[in-house]
């Protein structure tokens, strides 16, 4: 996207926000259409369930629109929205009793930390990562790791934005991302090894 188009996009969003504050239905819909895919995608990847993802998407947007009068532009609108989406998803996971990796620096036990397998030549993953396989591997990550990986590597947020969204430190965000990637590497290599041994 060129800079001019990005600039135009920003103006349109800013205009839509101001009109939405006045109760303009078209403005609300415009904001929804601008951001629905990313919010829905995040919810879907966290829940792996279409109906649940749609409910969470609806809830995230409703919370946003109820509070739109308080938006002052201190952070990017999309960051604000995704923070709400993240909160909505985390609350849902907690309601279901799913353990969410605490987003503070935690000390992992031997069993939890992704191991680096010693010895043995292991071909690189580069060039051989199947998209579907990666998606399945992401689905099997613990929710906390999954959230950080989705926000950074899939959605492209920076660590300072992620830290603001999920309420952790930048260092913690980097650490969780690294652990998520290490875990994914372990899952992908195991899966590849299993495929290789199958007749």
């Amino acid at each position: 996207m060129t800079d001019a188009k990005k600039q135009q996009g920003r103006l349109s969003e800013a205009e839509a926000i101001e009109r939405a504050k006045q109760g303009d239905a078209a403005a609300f819909e415009s904001l929804y259409n601008l951001h629905k895919r990313r919010v829905y995608s995040l919810c879907l990847r966290m829940t792996a369930n279409t109906a649940a993802a749609e409910d969470l998407t609806q809830e995230a947007f409703l919370q946003l629109f109820r509070k739109i009068g308080t938006f002052r532009g201190e952070s990017a609108f999309s960051t604000w929205l995704h923070r709400m989406a993240v909160n909505v998803v985390l609350m849902q996971l907690r309601k279901k009793g799913l353990a969410v990796v605490p987003l503070e620096e935690n000390i992992e036990t031997e069993d939890e930390s992704p191991r680096k397998e010693p010895g043995g030549d292991d071909p690189r993953l580069a060039g051989s990562i199947d998209r579907m396989q990666l998606q399945r591997s992401i689905d099997s990550l613990p929710p906390g790791y999954r959230m950080i990986f989705l926000l950074h590597d899939v959605e492209g947020y920076e660590h300072n934005e992620i830290a603001e969204m999920v309420g952790c430190s930048i260092g913690n965000s980097k650490s969780q991302l690294h652990k998520a990637r290490m875990k994914l590497r372990e899952i992908l290599k195991t899966s590849r090894a299993e495929k290789a041994t199958k007749p």
Partner: protein, 210 residues
């Protein structure tokens, strides 16, 4: 630099490495492979970016809620295309359905004996409201959906889904109110359900006409 030292700083590593780190990567194939794998995972992750879209009913439900909460206010001269004049055959449905549904709800609320949800009843405007457990849609809903389909076929499925959802809501609300006629919350729940249905009617005709 040892592998352990390298792995300790790995979470902080960006695109640029120090000379010491570069040297280690040059000489250590295990760490070099590790970095290569992690970069490949990150790169592939970016390709998974949002491709899916939520179904249209999500926006419909959001809009209904925003209107109910008064967050959407009609703008004077907002440039929206006003619907063309239509035959009274369709237009009568909006105010009649809205009034009938709400009146029926009020009457239900005031009565001491709420009819069993399975009993068939018709309000004076001919709107079947209690017979919602039979298969398929009530006849007025079908009429509305046919009106939508005639003008905007692509919207029919979304509105059918909305009507089924709101009918299920009405069924639940009627059941709750039936179970405890003195429960004010259940009665309010039932009024809200009727209002939602009236709103779906209003939106369906308003949009399909545009």
């Amino acid at each position: 630099m040892t592998c352990e030292e390298f792995e300790r700083v790995l979470p902080e590593l960006g695109d640029e490495h120090s000379m010491e780190q570069e040297e280690h990567l040059r000489t250590c194939s295990a760490c070099s492979d590790l970095v290569s794998d992690l970069n490949a995972i990150s790169k592939q992750g970016r390709l998974l970016q949002a491709a899916e879209e939520p179904s249209p009913w999500v926006w419909n439900s959001i809009e209904i809620a925003l209107r109910q909460e008064g967050l959407i206010r009609e703008q004077p001269g907002n440039g929206r295309i006003h619907p063309p004049k239509v035959s009274s055959k369709s237009r009568w449905m909006v105010p009649t359905a809205a009034v009938a549904l709400i009146l029926f709800g009020v009457v239900l609320h005031q009565r001491t004996g709420i009819p069993h949800p399975e009993a068939k009843q018709e309000s004076p405007a001919g709107v079947v409201t209690a017979d919602l457990q039979t298969e398929g849609m009530p006849s007025d809903d079908m009429q509305l959906l046919n009106a939508v389909a005639a003008r905007t076929p692509s919207m029919r499925a979304a509105y059918e889904q909305n009507l089924r959802a709101v009918n299920a809501y009405i069924r639940d609300a009627e059941q709750s109110a039936h179970n405890d006629p003195n429960d004010e919350v259940a009665q309010q729940y039932l009024r809200n359900a009727y209002e939602q249905k009236a709103m779906v009617y209003e939106m369906a005709l308003d949009r399909s006409l545009q």
